[in-house]
């Protein structure tokens, strides 16, 4: 949420001269926020690893996880990272068509990923794995739900930027508006880069 707030809100009262580090405050802020987020996800992932095998009651990883589906989700998220970087490229070059094309693809990817997660969670419910069925389920849903919320917020954020881009409000000198959203989006992606092997593959592999 902090990240979204930073968009459009750098009011350094003295733009007359460059900032001390010669970068826009918003960019520094989003990196600071990302640094802080590392600790959020580190705590969540550790909790999951600790409770990964606590599924005496109800289904465990091997009963519910579907590698193909999640691999698809992972691929989509990776692609979206590529797409958004291309969109940023377009924005910086002032190429509105390029910007619109890649940015819409990114937003689509975001929607697809969230959809994948909803589908996945629904499937788990049908297999008898609710939020509080066992600790494995609880920590899984908490971790991936937290990540999914990040993806959803990112998708909304990029969506508003898509609207801006469509209206021509992201000229090259405002490409930074997209850049900070993209940084956030990449971070969400790298978190999934960790979650995919640690949560899915390793849990399935254990024992």
């Amino acid at each position: 949420m902090t990240a979204a707030v930073l968009d459009h809100d750098s009011a350094d009262a003295h733009e007359e001269h460059p900032t001390s580090l010669r970068i826009d405050s918003r960019k520094l802020a989003i990196w600071t926020f990302i640094g802080s987020e590392c600790l959020f996800f580190a705590a969540l992932i550790t909790t999951f690893v600790i409770y990964r095998n606590s599924h005496a009651t109800g289904p465990g990883p091997k009963d519910v996880f579907e590698v193909p589906l999640v691999t698809a989700g992972t691929a989509v998220l990776l692609f979206s990272s590529f797409f958004v970087v291309m969109a940023l490229n377009g924005a910086q070059e002032g190429n509105r068509k390029k910007l619109l094309l890649w940015l819409s693809l990114t937003v689509l990817c975001g929607c697809f990923f969230v959809g994948m997660q909803v589908y996945e969670f629904t499937g788990f419910m049908h297999k008898g794995m609710g939020y509080s069925t066992n600790l494995f389920a609880t920590s899984f849903f908490t971790l991936t739900g937290f990540h999914g919320t990040h993806v959803a917020i990112g998708t909304l954020w990029l969506g508003t930027l898509l609207k801006d881009a469509y209206k021509g409000r992201i000229p090259p000198n405002k490409a930074l508006n997209l850049e900070i959203a993209a940084l956030y989006w990449h971070f969400v992606d790298v978190v999934w880069i960790i979650i995919f092997p640690v949560v899915y593959l390793m849990s399935l592999f254990a024992k």
């Binding site: 809100d9 009011a11 350094d12 003295h14 001390s20 405050s25 802080s36 909790t47």
Partner: protein
Amino acid sequence: MATAALDPAHATSPKRSVLVDWLTTVDHKKIGILYGASAFIFFLIGGLEAEVIRLQLMKPDTHLVSPEFYNQLFTMHGTTMIFLAVMPISAMFFNFFVPLLIGARDVAFPRLNAMSFWVFLLGGLFINASLLMNAAPNGGWFGYAPLSSRQYSPGVNMDFWALGLQILGIASLAAGVNFFTTILNMRAPGMTLMRMPMFVWSVLVTQVLVLLSFPVITIALVMLTADRNFHASFFSYNVAGGDPMLWQHLFWVFGHPEVYILIMPAFGIVSEILPVFSRKPLFGYSAMVFSMAFIAFLGFGVWSHHMFATGMGPLADSFFSLMTMLIAIPTGVKIFNWIGTLWGGSLQFKTPLYFALGFIAMFIMGGLSGVMHAVAPADLQQTDSYFVVAHFHYVLFGGSIFSLTAGAYYWWPKMFGRMLDEGLGKVHFWLMLIGFNLTFFPMHFVGLLGMPRRIYTYPSGLGFDGYNMASTIGALTLGVGFLVFIYNVIRTWRTGAHAPADPWGGATLEWAIPSPPQEWNFAVEPTVTEKDALWAMKRAAGVKVLPEPPLVSGKGIHLPSPSWWPLFTSFGILIFMVGIMVKGETHGFPFGPISVFGVLLTAFSIFKWSYQPVDHPTSH
């Protein structure tokens, strides 16, 4: 945009009622005052709770309050003092003075700054509202599971705590991002990192600690909330094999850095005051910076020294013992450097110096008892006894509060344009020093004599009686001390002498501008050439005190415009949390309609906020 042609009316904020002005302000100085005022009220509430605790413990087998209420009192006292008093009083100084000290017009994100404050205030009111419902948190400020689980705390008490701290965490994290960015990116030309005032360094280090430790407690609180409200069992062993120990680890991974979050700003304030009143620069500037950074870094590697009694095994005990002792080295360096600053100086005994010296003297004692805790076997005897209570009050009261009070006397003229009364200030100091030592020094003894913490009463015959009586008398003395302070504030408000721009012969930039500062801080942006920027300017001009700076019209100065959205965003967050407490679950969906409304309000406010122009519309 660097627009020269501005609506001149804008710069003087016309046509807004006083109330609207304060509710929508994005001026870091006003936000600072708001922080200070609300935090001081919370401080008084927390102090009142402490006085009741002391009255209850004055004599053995007292029945002034019920055990249940006593538990609420000490939980609220700890929570209030840490999260609602010391942190936000520090935040008052961050807000008011960081931009002034680095020569900036405002913080990097003024509206985010306003949101931090409103979220903090609403969070604080939320937690304290529990007192009105006679359902205040009662599981200790550390909220150990499984005592804090639904099974053993069935009421809403710990919901107030868990949700309230999450609200406050949002405020701290937002402020952390904001001040980290501000300090790194908004410094006046020429102010390199190693020319920054020590207070600014302390804020920077504090914000790093906030940014890296608050996420961990947030996650822990989310899991506790899930345990309490959504049938999870992260920390409840009996349902599905959850482990209460995980809570302790997560809590202290946050909890130890939190201790430094409380003390670092105090280091910074004292490091500003001592040079000014000894008329001599800070001794060993870079050693001070590095020791602070080192303390902060080590602060992440010592959390388990709060858990020696859990039986972690000799390897872990030794590791955390040694790491903790290591922290004493940079801390010692800081104390020696402060004394080195005074050495050979020309000490001007004004009230701020009194409190700063009190800080050093008391903090030494807190540090020494801290080393005793680092000795793990000895800590087995001391932890959870009154010895620990004595130790951390020497650090948090003798340290933080003495220093924050010093800061209040030091910076009051700059904030409000009037001088606090010196005589009353010194009365305040002596009452506080005597009261403080009378309260907490005996606690060392009574702790070593075997009095556990957090007990609502104790039997006679264990030798506790005299010490407790002394502590209670001391606590009442402390209370009188703060009444003197309040009287001083009121008197100064009405009849205090007007403050010049530079009453103390200051070393830093804030003393170069009028007291109180005008909305835009610096009419002309300062250029910094060395440490102690103002002293350098005075030396260059060959004067002891610069001529009084003229008030300017502010025409053409570009300022961020006020906004309602930070306030609305904060309400959205509050409503979301209230929704979780009121209705934990609806047909398997964890959030009730109130929470959904809160999320929508937050999202809507942020959306509007994002598209609201940063500056006054006419300036575009």
